[in-house]
């Protein structure tokens, strides 16, 4: 029976279950222009990686709960004490002290605006977002960095105000659980599985 590969952590170790790879045969590559002589072979690879979020797991855990966490350097001796990071940085890049995890949900809801954007007609393999993908980079008051994400409704413009939405139904626990819509968007207009909180 084929099941998705699943992983849990028990006693500090990964416990895996299910299929993590699928074996399919190599196939010859032949040259049609030269009597179908052999040129090479296909090497099928279908693998599932096991990846830890480590100290960032709190960020991804909380997206489906309608929360956006960032971090702040609270080291009294750091020249840049008080700097706030979103994307989440586990450690301060200046003093390398562990940052404090802070809830930025309200800041995001009240101050988010589009710093830049891009509408991309193409995607790579394994993409799960609808095309065209409306990439937006979102800036927030008091936050030193700019978050990359995507707009689910409307057309992006530099400077437009946006608010976060969260995939609270069937979350993927990836960065795609967070998206944005223009201010004043109604909850009934949100994509399936997404809510404002």
């Amino acid at each position: 029976m084929s099941i998705y590969g699943t992983v849990r952590v028990k006693n500090g170790k990964y416990k895996i279950k299910g299929e993590f790879h699928h074996i399919t045969p190599n196939m010859p590559i032949r040259n049609q222009d030269e009597g179908w002589r052999l040129m090479g072979v296909t090497n099928p690879r279908d693998m599932t990686y096991i990846h830890t979020y480590g100290g960032e797991s709190v960020f991804f855990e909380n997206l489906p709960k309608g929360k956006i966490f960032g971090t702040r350097c609270d080291n009294q001796d750091c020249e840049f004490k008080g700097t706030i990071y979103l994307p989440f940085r586990i450690y301060c890049p200046d003093c390398l002290f562990k940052n404090t995890v802070i809830d930025l949900t309200d800041v995001c809801k009240k101050t988010a605006k589009v710093h830049t954007f891009m509408v991309c007609e193409r995607s790579g393999a394994f993409n799960t977002l609808d095309k065209p993908i409306k990439f937006i980079n979102v800036e927030f008051e008091g936050v030193s960095t700019i978050l990359m994400s995507y707009l689910s409704i409307g057309e992006p413009k530099i400077g437009m105000g946006v608010v976060p939405i969260f995939r609270t139904v069937n979350p993927t626990y990836t960065i795609t659980d967070l998206s944005w819509v223009p201010k004043e968007t109604q909850e009934t207009d949100l994509p399936e599985g997404f809510t404002f909180s």
């Binding site: 590559i29 040259n31 040129m39 090479g40 090497n43 690879r45 990846h51 979020y53 960032e56 991804f60 020249e79 840049f80 700097t83 990071y85 994307p87 940085r89 890049p93 200046d94 710093h115 830049t116 954007f117 891009m118 509408v119 991309c120 007609e121 193409r122 995607s123 790579g124 393999a125 394994f126 993409n127 799960t128 977002l129 993908i133 990439f135 937006i136 980079n137 030193s144 960095t145 700019i146 978050l147 990359m148 994400s149 995507y150 530099i158 990836t174 960065i175 795609t176």
Partner: protein
């Protein structure tokens, strides 16, 4: 880091002069099912030998260490590919190492080879780079390239690197380009120029005789970037031989190659553009803080530096390189350059980062005609021709080889051999390519100093390789 200590801004110094002796490269193309990577690497090394009238065996007898640039193991499903190439080149049991810095891999490979010679560890080092991007379908290739972005915060967003890059292009287009049609046409002109110069380069993957309108009508990839604004995905290899002075003189005795002094410097910046914090603009030798005091007034939205409009890594590579070699104003001190034109817009961004024009005014380098072999407005030689190879848009982007290809190209100008090598009918025939009837010798007359910029991702790594004829140094103790 947004502030630098004096120690971090120290001018780099080589412990002894280092020379580029020869270089070589394979044909570049989208796919080469007829050749394994090792065959391409041997093509490149054989060519390097031929340019100094040596057999490969004779040249190999000088090599003491080998540096291999190969970005993407997962494209070829071969880890330790460097060991395969090293073995096939017959260089075991010499010391060797692989270098990986994304699109800057070629430049970084040269950086390491130069340092090993400068330190005295080796008197002769091989720098060899390659890539083959034809071993997976294009959409899977796009996914694999997107893995060079942050795998948790960026890659799941479309698995398409263009999207992570193009947000920068959009910001530049709106802030410094002011969304003007004339600026869009200037970007297209870069593509026309690079595909056009590629027509005179037998190694080049995408020679085309096209117009600005052709570029503007090509399919949108990520607005305002269209297909003809984007670099190629190529297969190929390139190499360079780096030596100390005595070895350089011995290897080039009675040959057409004059040993060229070589320096390589490097800069870096956050893998995620999102993590760029606001900072003061580091100034190049010919710039002043005053010239940027009103940047925000002139270009509303341009208040952040480097923001999403500049590449700090390129600026720092130029900063170190100019101070190291005595370059004051690159427009006056250099004769020919090769830039990392991953996209037409990033070509313009780089003009500013390396000081060809001030921030916000990069387009003028194209519009003035300075970037051309022959300035189309004056009919006179361009002030500082760029990407006469065709660059990444017209010649190739076989990632690990690209930075070395650029150096091969600028070296041929300083050796005064550009026409001999690129015009060689035998090479056109060997590559099964038709030499155009209007083939033009793009040798930059009197070229004595040059630079190549090798660039990774959205600016995570950048190197500046500077070549000079030893009789035309700007700084005696460089």
């Amino acid at each position: 880091m947004i502030k630098f200590s004096k120690r971090q801004l120290k001018t780099p110094r080589l412990m002894r002069p280092v020379y580029l002796v020869t270089a070589g490269q394979s044909k570049f193309d989208r796919a080469m099912p007829e050749k394994k990577t090792e065959e391409l690497a041997i093509d490149a090394l054989t060519m390097a030998s031929r340019l100094i009238d040596k057999t490969p065996a004779e040249l190999k007898s000088y090599i003491h260490t080998a540096y291999y640039g190969h970005f993407a193991d997962h494209f070829g499903d071969q880890l330790l590919g460097e060991a395969v190439i090293h073995d096939r080149l017959g260089l075991d049991p010499l010391g060797t190492i692989g270098i990986k810095t994304g699109g800057a891999t070629g430049g970084s490979t040269l950086w390491e080879a130069v340092k090993t010679v400068a330190s005295g560890y080796s008197d002769c080092a091989l720098a060899m780079g390659w890539e083959r991007m034809d071993e997976v379908p294009t959409d899977e290739g796009n996914h694999l390239i997107s893995c060079a972005a942050d795998k948790d915060w960026e890659t799941p967003l479309g698995h398409i690197y263009t999207g992570y890059y193009a947000v920068m292009a959009q910001k530049y287009w709106q802030v410094f380009g002011k969304e003007e049609d004339s600026f869009r046409r200037t970007l297209a002109e870069i593509s026309v120029k690079h595909h056009g110069y590629a027509r005179f380069n037998p190694f080049a993957h995408a020679p085309m005789k096209i117009t600005v309108d052709d570029v503007l009508k090509s399919p949108v990839v990520a607005f305002p970037l269209r297909a003809l604004d984007c670099c190629l995905m190529s297969v190929g290899a390139a190499c360079a031989i780096i030596c100390d002075e005595d070895t350089a003189i011995e290897l080039t005795k009675n040959t057409k190659n004059k040993p060229l002094r070589i320096w390589v410097t490097a800069g870096s910046h956050t893998l995620r553009p999102a993590c760029r914090r606001d900072m003061e603009i580091p100034l190049l030798p010919h710039e002043t803080a005053e010239q940027y005091a009103d940047l925000e007034e002139r270009f509303p939205g341009g208040e952040r530096y480097p923001g999403f409009t500049g590449f700090l890594a390129a600026r720092m590579a130029a900063y170190y390189g100019y101070h190291m070699t005595g370059i004051n104003d690159p427009m006056k001190d250099l004769d020919v350059i090769e830039l990392h034109d991953a996209f037409t817009i990033s070509d313009v961004q780089t003009y500013e980062d390396i000081g060809l024009r001030p921030y916000g005014e990069g387009r003028d380098y194209v519009e003035s005609g300075d970037c051309y072999h022959i300035n189309p407005h004056t009919g006179q030689p361009g002030k500082l021709p760029s990407n006469l190879s065709g660059g990444l848009i017209g010649c190739m982007h076989a990632v690990g080889a690209t930075g070395i290809m650029q150096v091969f190209e600028i070296a041929t100008h300083l050796w005064k051999r550009w026409g001999e090598i690129h015009g060689n009918p035998g090479l056109w025939k060997e590559f099964d390519r038709e030499k155009p009837d209007d083939w033009t010798d793009l040798q930059v007359k009197g070229a004595n100093r040059s630079m190549a910029i090798s660039h990774a991702g959205v600016g995570s790594h950048v190197t500046a390789t500077i070549l000079m004829d030893p009789d035309h140094l700007l700084k005696k103790d460089a």
